[in-house]
């Protein structure tokens, strides 16, 4: 769990991984820079939600810049391994997009092919939204395709916008992992193109999404659990899949 100034969803994300059987450890970006901790010693890199460096200039950009300069070689090596996962939630997704890891490009940090920009409403939107899990190569959503789930969004800059040809590439390579359930506001809370809420790299190992799966890993976190008694915590499966993969990358099945 990568921690920087302004990271604020680290504790609940760590809890979600622990529930899923993982062994989360929160590492400050300074510890990676100083060499006190090394990415090489981990299987999953999580960039949790928050306001890294206050989202100064634009959401996630200062941390993305740090990852693609001071930490570039560590990160490249980590991503190039076959047995690793990268998971960006909300601000973490913004960081992955601004560092060029999503949509995935091999030339880390050199170019972005999509962006996450200000919500169409101009407002910070905190609400539960319906989501459709798509057929994709995403490790994190393995076995969930076709499900309609509910998660909370909480962001001001979550409108997914693609550059030339990018959207076709994402679709063709099965990289659209998660869509908002409807295109109309507020179910599509930010005006994302093609209702895109989460995407992955072509190998399925790098995944970013705007909604917060870590906020629905227990029944009572869902506002209407009292009316929908049978409802399972939709967010937990993302973490379970990640931990299963990391435990045994060769034999991963959902």
């Amino acid at each position: 769990m990568l921690f920087a100034d302004g990271t604020n969803c680290d504790a609940e994300t760590a809890h979600a991984f622990a529930l899923a059987g993982g062994e989360p450890e929160t590492v400050h970006v300074n510890q990676l820079r100083s060499g006190a901790k090394r990415l090489a010693d981990y299987r999953i890199l999580v960039i949790p939600g928050g306001f890294s460096y206050g989202d100064d200039v634009a959401s996630g950009v200062i941390l993305a810049n740090e990852l693609t300069t001071s930490l570039a070689s560590q990160l490249q090596t980590f991503v190039d391994r076959f047995d690793t996962l990268v998971f960006g939630i909300c601000n973490g997704f913004q960081v992955l997009v601004r560092s060029g890891l999503l949509p995935y490009r091999p030339d880390l940090g050199k170019r972005m092919s999509a962006t996450l920009t200000t919500n169409d409403s101009g407002l910070f939107e905190c609400r539960w939204v319906p989501l459709a899990v798509e057929e994709s190569c995403c490790i994190f959503t393995r076995g969930m395709a076709g499900q309609d789930i509910s998660l909370m969004v909480a962001h001001g800059e979550g409108k997914f916008v693609t550059g030339d040809g990018c959207l076709d590439d994402l679709r063709a390579n099965g990289c659209v992992a998660l869509r908002y359930g409807n295109n109309a506001y507020p179910d599509n809370p930010n005006g994302s193109c093609d209702r895109i809420a989460g995407i992955c790299s072509f190998n399925g190992r790098i995944f970013g999404l705007m909604p917060h799966p870590e906020r629905f890993v227990r029944r009572e976190q869902y506002p209407n659990w009292r009316r929908e008694r049978g409802r399972q915590p939709d967010g937990l499966l993302f973490f379970v899949n990640a931990v299963h993969f990391a435990s045994d990358p060769h034999n991963f099945t959902a």
Partner: protein, 945 residues
């Protein structure tokens, strides 16, 4: 050399900032502007144009949606206005740009700044651009219009000075002149200070006078609450004594009350929870965004500054404004329009809480025209910590004083003394430096480091730098021992501050901790790991003096005893007389459907969901019962339930109550109502009325005899509530400056506000209930006894332009037992839905439950057996009454019945989304839910579009 980078989002559709501003321009009534475009401007000092181009491409712009240029204009063909922070107002973005440039290998950057340009397209009408700038873009207390590129971004200044003030020889008039607009002390207090220095045979320094003024301010000294009172000729105990005495009688859960930065009660498993509710009215009145943001920042610091440090787990916000459609001519001179205030205050609370990762999940907004002269901005926070570190720490002789967090600047000078003064038409001009913008990420770093230090056992005592800055924080922490401070060590944002300014500056995001010498190195290491500045300022001496030096020169040398106990106790007289009004005659309604909609769209009733959607109320993953729920997530709940420990089911319930209008009739009734409402809200979601604590906030006009008489009654109400419910107040705050005095002699007393917040523990968040109806065909029951003859202060009377004379009065003898009985039924799980009755009465509670459940209802008022007009039954605002949904007969309802709490079955929920109300054998009205919901949602949608 300064390089300028400009970045814009081409395409009118994608420039969201421009679109948002255009909508606000429309609200100003300006139609000539048809398009607004915006651009960010970055000024970078010390680098080449090529390096600026690299930053523009790699850092400052987004190649997918934006374009950037270096050293040229980007917006044109229309009037362009650039708005920036004033020099000296810290722009948090600057530090991030410096860091990122360094990461990119651009090391020459010595300073950076950012600002925004706006271009206004349409027929050019110059004075309209000026109106937009004045009304929407530039708050002159912190911002300015940039007309030329500055020569440098670096702020220079001469090192600080310290002056001696010839006080001993001053006459009374000169003493008062010295105090006015600066010290805010009265003549008697100035004379006591004069006598102290005559005794000492020297004149004071400006540092000493400022220290005394801060410590003795109403804000810090609570002079009115500590005063001996004479009410209607009869002596009474000081207000604070009455509150503390009654609180001490019910302290079973209390760990710490009225002594630390927040009140602390036991939670479960060796944990404690704490709460603090603050006001930030004066700063918010003149700079609502920064004022509200730093209000949140301050109350968060109160939580982390409790015991040896608590984790902040919740934020609350309660506001009172004039109606957002107030005609501009009714706005007093020097006051900002409520539409602007409301939007900017909400934005300030939103941005600070969201960035800190603290869920804002309980609050309310109230409207009354008399708030036009000054809004009421109440911000609360709650925290959790191990019991072993929940009591106020005591420093020991030899301990070191460390300052953590942000640097000190000229921002926030005189906040404590300023907020204790009345608002006048001079306020905006004279007190600009009292306003600050916040930097929540600085505060986040500070809290991250403090909690790590706490867990390592490194903190002996901690407090926040709030009102009075270092002067109050260090002066108070060292009250028993004495301290010695080397002020030149304090890190400054820029040079040029006088020493007294460094000493009293309320620059945000600073904490002071007492650390044993052997732990100092580890604290510094931890802070460094979080990119946090930590500085050793001095030590605790044991000499019982407050000694401050600057480069070896003594600039303050006061006896702690005089500083903390020299303030003379005031003797104040109060007078209470019930206002003389006539009970109005209200015509019998004819169009019930229209009436129902009008009540639902009254601003004190309507949905506040658009505000809540802007607050991240789910962060930390703790929310077990949110502010809005139900089928479409738009039905309101009465309180919030948090599950602060992820792997335990323990719940923290947070609620509040207030009704400023009732205080205009009788503050005793208003006080009872507020406290009852807070406790009823807590019970309505499953809170235990016997395991909670209360927090008071008195926001009162300047305490003249009449206002003090009202305050006395409100305090008596709080005392009676404590004795009836057997629950204590554990923390409180008074802000006695809600009077406006205009140049023309206008005096506006803002309505007195008593806000009561409640927080309590429950063992299992699974045993809680929401307000949305769960199914059609269920029975709807009214709990409690309505008082249809007590319509005073009601929304219904207000719609007719009346206040009334008889406020609803809760039955303090019976209600505590009733609420406990209700609580036990909620725990049983047989209550499907529960909602308390408050503003708008039964009719509003019913509509809100139907909205949440996406069902209708059919009720018969005859079932209540009341001999009263149906409108008075429907709209009576009796706090402590509830609507309850229980399963239909064919379902198991556990025999849901009440032994003591009066209960009547009044109807049932229906599949058809219509509310039908019967009375006297007839149908009064039958209204589609869609109409009612639209009326209820419309008012705030208009403000927060």
């Amino acid at each position: 050399m300064i390089q300028e980078v400009r970045v814009t989002t081409p395409g009118a559709r994608d420039d969201i900032a421009g679109k948002t501003l255009l909508a606000e321009i429309r609200h100003l009534g300006i139609t000539s502007v048809t398009l607004v475009k915006t651009a960010r401007v970055y000024r970078l000092e010390g680098i080449t144009a090529e390096e600026a181009a690299t930053l523009a491409l790699r850092l400052l712009s987004d190649p997918i949606s934006q374009v950037a240029v270096v050293n040229e204009r980007i917006l044109g063909g229309a009037p362009v206005v650039e708005v920036a922070y004033k020099p000296g107002v810290m722009n948090p973005e600057a530090a991030s740009i410096m860091k990122a440039a360094h990461d990119l290998g651009i090391t020459g950057l010595v300073a950076a700044d950012s600002s925004t340009e706006y271009a206004f397209y349409g027929p050019p009408i110059a004075d309209e651009v000026q109106r937009i700038v004045d009304g929407l873009l530039v708050n002159k207390t912190v911002q300015r219009v940039v007309t030329a590129t500055p020569a440098t971004l670096l702020i220079s200044g001469q090192p600080g000075a310290c002056r001696t003030i010839p006080l001993r020889t001053l006459e009374d008039t000169a003493l008062l002149e010295l105090s006015r607009d600066k010290l805010f002390l009265n003549l008697e207090e100035m004379r006591v200070i004069q006598a102290y220095f005559r005794q000492a045979d020297r004149d004071p320094t400006d540092v000493e006078l400022e220290t005394l003024a801060q410590t003795w301010s109403e804000h810090c000294g609570h002079k009115t609450f500590r005063a001996k009172l004479v009410v209607n000729g009869n002596p009474k105990e000081p207000l604070i004594t009455r509150l503390k005495t009654a609180a001490a009688e019910h302290g079973q859960l209390v760990q710490s009350s009225f002594v630390d930065n927040s009140g602390v009660i036991s939670f479960f498993d060796g944990l404690a929870v704490c709460g603090k509710v603050e006001t930030h009215n004066s700063p918010s009145a003149i700079e609502p965004y920064g004022g509200a943001a730093t209000g949140s920042g301050g109350v968060f610091r109160d939580i982390v500054g409790t015991g040896q440090g608590a984790k902040v787990i919740a934020s609350t916000d309660i506001f009172c404004f004039a109606p957002p459609d107030l005609p501009a001519v009714q706005l007093p001179a020097g006051c900002l329009h409520p539409h602007y205030l409301l939007r900017r205050v909400v934005a300030g609370v939103r941005d600070y809480g969201n960035r800190m990762g603290i869920p804002t999940n309980n609050g309310s907004v109230h409207f009354h025209p008399d708030f036009r002269a000054k809004p009421t901005i109440i911000v609360g926070a709650y925290g959790i910590m191990p019991e072993r570190c929940c009591r106020k720490g005591k420093p020991q002789t030899g301990d070191l004083i460390l300052a953590l967090g942000g640097r000190t600047g000229r921002d926030g000078i005189h906040g404590a003394t300023f907020s204790s003064g009345e608002m006048t038409d001079r306020t905006i001009n004279v007190n600009a430096s009292a306003v600050q913008i916040g930097n929540p990420i600085e505060e986040k770093r500070t809290f991250d480091a403090i909690l790590r230090c706490r867990d390592r056992g490194l903190i002996r005592a901690i407090t926040d730098c709030g009102a009075g800055g270092f002067s109050s924080a260090i002066g108070e922490m060292g009250a028993d021992l004495g301290v010695r401070v080397a002020l030149e060590r304090a890190p400054l944002k820029y040079a040029g501050l006088d020493w007294w300014e460094v000493w009293v500056s309320e620059a945000q995001e600073r904490m002071v901790v007492a650390v044993a010498p052997e732990h100092a190195a580890e604290v510094l290491t931890i802070c460094q790991g979080f990119n946090l500045e930590a500085t050793m300022l001095g030590e605790f001496t044991g000499d019982h003096r407050l000694t401050v030096t600057a480069n070896g020169q003594t600039i303050c040398d006061l006896a702690m005893d005089f500083l903390h106990h020299g303030l003379p106790q005031r003797i104040m007289t109060a007078r209470w007389q019930a206002p003389r009004r006539c009970e109005p005659t209200i015509p019998h309604p004819s169009d019930w459907a229209a009436l129902y909609r009008r009540v639902l769209s009254h601003r004190n009733v309507c949905s506040k969901e658009p505000i809540v959607r802007g607050y991240d109320h789910g962060v930390q993953g703790t929310c077990a019962l949110p502010p809005y729920g139900g089928v479409q997530h738009d039905g309101p709940n009465d309180a919030v339930v948090l599950q602060p420990i992820a792997d335990h089911p323990y719940g923290l319930v947070i609620s509040h109550g207030l009704n400023p209008v009732l205080n205009l009739i009788d503050p005793y009734a208003g006080g009872l109502w507020a406290a009852t409402e807070a406790i009823a809200n807590l019970v309505a979601v499953g809170g235990n009325p016997r395991e909670c604590a209360l927090i008071d906030n008195f926001i009162w006009p300047f305490p003249d005899e009449e206002s003090l008489g009202q305050l006395d009654r409100a305090v008596d109400a709080c005392v009676d509530v404590m004795r009836a419910f057997k629950v204590p107040f554990v923390s409180g705050k008074d802000s006695l400056s809600s009077t406006y005095r205009g140049k023309d002699g206008t005096v506006i007393k803002i309505p007195p506000v008593l806000c009561v917040s409640a927080f309590g523990r429950i063992p299992d968040v699974g045993k809680t209930v929401t307000a949305d109806f769960k199914m059609p065909g269920a029975s709807i029951r009214l709990l409690g006894t309505l008082q249809p003859s007590a319509m005073g202060g009601s929304v219904y009377y207000d719609l007719h332009g009346h206040l009334g004379t008889v406020p609803p009065t809760p039955d303090l003898a019976a209600l505590p037992g009733w609420l406990y009985e209700l609580h036990q039924w909620v725990c049983s799980g047989f209550v499907l839905a529960l909602h308390d009755i408050s503003e708008g009465g039964l009719a509003v509670a019913l509509a809100e439950m139907c909205i949440g459940g996406n069902v209708g209802a059919d009720i018969n008022l005859d079932a209540l057996g009341l001999d009263a007009r149906p409108d008075f039954i429907l709209f009576n605002e009796m706090a402590g009454c509830f609507l309850l949904e229980a399963g239909p007969a064919q379902y198991e309802d556990g025999g849901l019945d009440f032994v003591s709490f009066p209960m009547r079955v009044i109807g049932k929920t229906t599949e058809e989304p219509v509310i039908t109300i019967r009375h006297g054998g007839h149908i009064l009205c039958s209204i589609p839910m869609a109409d009612l919901k639209a009326a209820w949602q419309q008012p705030m949608k208009e403000v927060f579009h």
